[in-house]
């Protein structure tokens, strides 16, 4: 039996969104019930990807491929060990995010759920597309629902934040689109056939000068999404204004699209340019680590503190990725999952707090642990996971990242370790001010501890955090072979070019100046 699982999990949410359009907007429970059960079903179906995935097999799996628009534009899906867990992360967090908005989102619920489901379709599509056109379509398609989610249900400066988010992302992705056009044209010129298949492009060796430009276009698009310093300025704005569920999805999954883009597209397609720009990118990543950590230290708003911690953590992930060895890249992928869980949970926790207090300022709190002991325990777990405490998932990811970075460049490794110190500092200091000390704000006495619904969506994350921290092998086993192949692809391509490309018949060499820029 051949069920197109990837298509199913991609388009089931969209179908749900279309269904919701025709339901009455007053019936809150029905709307939530349908959206939530759909998201859970999608998650359960996506689990079959994990069990059916063969880590040792070469190439993408669960492949679906049919013609679509002709001229190389195909409907081509497939996953490898890198995208597998990103898809699972998405499908896991979506029901959690929906459950978390049950009481947070009070008005325009129907439209809200529709956009959340469309967003899920877009994100999953990004991770599983193997055709550049399809990838771009999904990439852009995630933008619209997020734009509405921030713009309609966001805070006071939501319009500014959402426009900034859209325009930043569009700037990068449009330049990437032009680069895709150029690749498309060059491939046709070299082979006489149209293709937008990413694996075909891996076979292409471009003139190094041209690689530089194309790489910059791709790297800009992805660096904005990650976001890497200095393109990060949209992130704190978007996070602070977005509703809780929006922040969760944004931090946990949308940012990963950028890092994923690097490892799937920017790095393997332009090996020579990567070699040239690697030091620059690594330095930017280190600046991101330190700058994000320092900025997080001085934030007054808990949510923007978490947002800046994201900048810092994503910096580490990128640095590990740029070390271009198996340990580093595996660590980066693993840390992407960890960051998704821990930052996602931090945003959930902040959201729970905000629902009770309608403030996120650190100074408005103090002594919460006495009033909300269970909440305080959840908060602590999320925080320690984010800070990389041994026994929790963050530690495994960070240590693997450091191994990789250390093997590549010792100075970078020493500098990047500062992320641990900084994270401990800003997170624990924040925890101390919010949770401990005397209760200064009388309103706190009226706050209720976490309710059952909140426990239901927090517990799976906590379980996963311990699991991934204590027994990471089931994950790493599936990630590592794919990462090893990807890294080998990048490295060998670099070497091939140095040894004169003519001697390698499998690769097409595009002569210099054939970009045809007139």
């Amino acid at each position: 039996m051949n069920i197109p699982i990837l298509s199913l999990i991609t388009f089931l949410p969209l179908a749900g969104a279309l269904l919701l359009i025709f339901l009455p907007k007053e019936n809150k429970n029905l709307l939530y019930g349908i959206a939530l059960s759909l998201a859970v079903v999608v998650f359960l179906v996506s689990l079959s990807l994990y069990f059916g995935f063969d880590a040792q097999a070469d190439g993408p799996q669960f492949v679906e491929k049919t013609g679509w628009l002709g001229f190389g534009i195909q409907y081509h899906l497939g996953i490898d060990g890198i995208s597998l867990f990103l898809v699972l992360l998405t499908t896991l967090l979506m029901p959690i995010a929906l459950l978390s908005s049950w009481s947070y989102i009070q008005d325009r619920i129907k439209v809200y759920l529709i956009f959340m489901l469309i967003l899920e379709t877009g994100i999953i599509g990004v991770f599983i597309s193997l055709n550049m056109f399809l990838f771009y379509v999904f990439w852009e398609a995630t933008l619209i629902p997020m734009y509405f989610l921030i713009g309609i249900w966001g805070g006071k400066r939501r319009i500014y934040a959402t426009m900034k988010f859209v325009l930043f992302t569009m700037l990068g992705s449009l330049l990437m689109l032009v680069a895709i056009f150029v690749l498309y044209h060059l491939y046709y010129k070299a082979t006489g056939t149209y293709s937008l298949n990413i694996f075909d492009y891996y076979q292409m060796l471009l003139d190094p000068k041209l690689q530089t430009w194309l790489f910059l276009a791709f790297a800009l698009a992805f660096a904005i999404k990650v976001p890497m310093f200095p393109f990060h300025t949209w992130l704190p704005d978007a996070h602070v204004e977005a509703p809780t569920a929006g922040s969760v999805i944004l931090a946990a999954v949308l940012l990963k699209m950028g890092a994923y883009g690097f490892i799937r597209f920017a790095l393997p397609l332009f090996p020579n340019a990567v070699e040239t720009f690697l030091p620059v990118l690594s330095v930017l990543a280190i600046i991101g680590i330190i700058y994000g950590g320092l900025m997080a230290l001085i934030q007054k708003d808990i949510k923007s503190l978490v947002a800046y911690s994201s900048v810092s953590h994503m910096g580490l992930i990128m640095l590990a990725l740029f070390s271009l060895n198996v340990e580093g890249a595996t660590g980066a992928i693993y840390q992407m999952l960890n960051h998704g869980l821990s930052t996602g949970m931090l945003f959930l926790v902040v959201g729970i707090l905000y629902e009770r207090s309608h403030t996120r300022l650190i100074k408005d709190f103090g002594g919460l642990s006495k009033q909300m002991p269970v909440f305080s325990a959840f908060f602590l777990v999320a925080l320690l996971s984010s800070a990389g405490l041994p026994g929790l998932n963050g530690f495994v990811g960070e240590i693997t990242c450091f191994f990789g970075i250390f093997a590549a460049n010792k100075t970078f490794a020493i500098l990047s370790v500062s992320t641990v110190i900084l994270a401990a500092a800003y997170l624990l200091w924040m925890f101390e001010r919010v949770m401990h000390g005397p209760i200064t704000n009388e309103k706190i006495l009226s706050y209720k501890d976490v309710n059952k619904r909140e426990i239901v969506y927090l517990v799976p994350i906590v379980v996963l955090m311990f699991w991934m921290g204590l027994y990471p092998q089931p994950f790493l086993r599936k990630i590592e072979p794919s990462v090893a192949r990807a890294i080998a692809g990048i490295k060998s391509a670099t070497k091939v070019f140095v040894q004169k490309p003519e001697s390698v018949p499998a690769k097409f060499k595009i002569p210099e100046g054939s970009a045809g820029i007139r």
Partner: protein, 476 residues
């Protein structure tokens, strides 16, 4: 089919127009809708007759009239556009105190002009079509007789339009003097052999291009467009944004695509038009940023879109151009149709502030308008994305990468102003009292069809692309 038979579709439209004018005199004000039905019948008849000529590719009257596939494809496009305009206009003109039967008659006449323009490769005949189109358009712009802005727009359009026509005629006269022919293929052959009087020929050709550039509102010949678009009744504006533009670009690509290889002065003209295309996308998008009136903003957006079409002309990419035009018909008429959906009795709501909170007050209209705006902004999976995609791919293939970069930046700017309307519709609380007339089934039909078109063209454009391929094979 003999030569006379070939003109029947055209005569049907002209006859329909005359019938409308005649009946107008005898119909009571509340029965004016019958005129719309008469016009629609004429359109359907013309469509059926034209469909029969598909793939025949014959030419009549010694090549003066050519019913080849590109001409027929564009004719279908115009028929759809005019039918849409009639449907969105029916209720509008009665609400805006402009319930004159001339609306339908003039639209049909303008349509006949469009058909003539695209069904010939002789500049004289093209000019005839253009004049029929223009004169009807001037009158259409002033349809709201009691409205100052409408009259202003008619006068402005008339003055500028006549000016442009004069350029065109003068250029054609010079060209005829040097080349002894006004047939496009003859002209290209003449350019290829290298004319004796180079300066004069180039001046003539340049004047023809300037005249056409006026009509399709290429920067810096666009000054009339915003005022005319703003002042004209909204259905007429919708027509202006698609009809004359599509015909103008069709003529332009027939003229220029073979000319790029002619050698004679073509590199210089290419560079000139390259600059104009860059300028048009940028200026159109930048000025649209500052507009508070949505009709005016859509006018600048239409100018910017003209820039993308010009890129397709520069790349000589007929497929991309026709696909862009097809998509543009649906999204532009859809966008103006949404504006019409937001009109009340004797009132129009065209200011940005009027749109605050509309998205939740009128969820269907808001959502549909948002889709058209996203399509205009070029977001997938709408037709607008694919249209730009094809244009840009074609241009990169021809080595116009830097022009594509400029156009892409312009479309980034355009994202801002399109999304600003969405911001007002969905993210702001209503500030003004907006009461709109909701009962307008014909309009909703058009909105629905346009929505369908935009999505179909964005996701499964296979059939349309197939027709376009058939059409383009006979374009040059």
């Amino acid at each position: 089919m003999n030569s006379f038979g070939a003109t029947v579709p055209l005569l049907l439209i002209v006859g329909g127009a005359l019938l409308v004018f005649l009946l107008e005199a005898f119909l009571k004000k509340e029965n004016k809708n019958y005129l719309a039905y008469v016009s629609l019948f004429a359109l359907i008849g013309c469509g059926i007759l034209s469909a029969k000529a598909w793939n025949a590719g014959r030419s009549y009257f010694d090549g003066m009239l050519r019913l080849d596939n590109p001409a027929l494809f564009l004719t279908f496009l115009f028929l759809i556009a005019v039918a849409f305009v009639i449907l969105i206009g029916m209720k509008y003109i009665s609400m805006q105190d402009a319930n004159h039967g001339e609306f339908y008659g003039l639209l049909l006449l303008a349509l006949s002009g469009l058909m003539i323009m695209v069904s010939s490769t002789n500049l004289i005949v093209i000019f005839l079509g253009l004049e029929v189109l223009s004169v009807s358009s001037y009158a259409l712009a002033g349809l709201k007789r009691k409205d100052d802005k409408s009259s202003e727009s008619a006068i402005k359009y008339f003055l500028m339009g006549s000016f442009a026509s004069a350029f065109l005629v003068f250029g054609m006269a010079i060209l005829f003097g040097t080349a002894q022919t006004l047939d496009i293929s003859g002209l290209i052959a003449f350019f290829k052999t290298g004319p004796d009087n180079q300066v004069l020929s180039l001046v003539g050709f340049g004047l023809v291009l300037v005249g056409l550039a006026f009509k399709i509102a290429i920067v810096p010949f666009h000054m009339w467009a915003p005022d005319v678009y703003e002042g004209a009744p909204t259905p007429v504006t919708a027509f202006f944004s698609v009809g004359p533009k599509a015909a103008g670009f069709a003529v332009l690509i027939r003229l220029l695509a073979p000319y790029w290889n002619a050698g004679f002065g073509s590199a210089k003209l290419f560079a000139f038009l390259w600059a104009l295309a860059a300028l048009t996308t940028l200026v159109g998008s930048l000025i649209a940023l500052r507009q508070k009136n949505i009709k005016r903003m859509l006018a600048y957006s239409s100018i910017a879109n003209g820039g993308y079409m010009l890129i397709a002309v520069l790349a000589g990419d007929g497929t991309a151009l026709l696909f862009f035009l097809t998509t543009y018909v649906f999204m532009s008429i859809g966008a103006f149709g949404s504006l019409i959906a937001l009109t009340g009795n004797g009132r129009e709501y065209n200011e940005l502030e009027d749109f605050a909170g509309i998205g939740f007050k009128y969820p269907w209209i808001g959502a549909i308008f948002a889709v058209f705006l996203l399509s205009l902004a070029g977001f997938p999976p709408t037709g607008g994305f694919l249209a730009k995609f094809y244009v840009f791919v074609g241009a990169v293939r021809q080595g116009l990468t830097s022009l594509v970069l400029i156009a892409v930046l312009a479309s980034l700017i355009s994202v801002y102003y399109y999304l600003r309307i969405v911001v007002y519709m969905y993210m702001r609380e209503p500030e003004r009292e907006v009461s709109i007339e909701l009962e307008n089934p014909a309009l909703y039909l058009v909105l629905f069809l346009s929505l369908y078109g935009v999505l179909q063209l964005g996701i499964f454009p296979g059939n349309v692309l197939y027709l376009i391929k058939q059409a383009v094979s006979a374009l040059f």
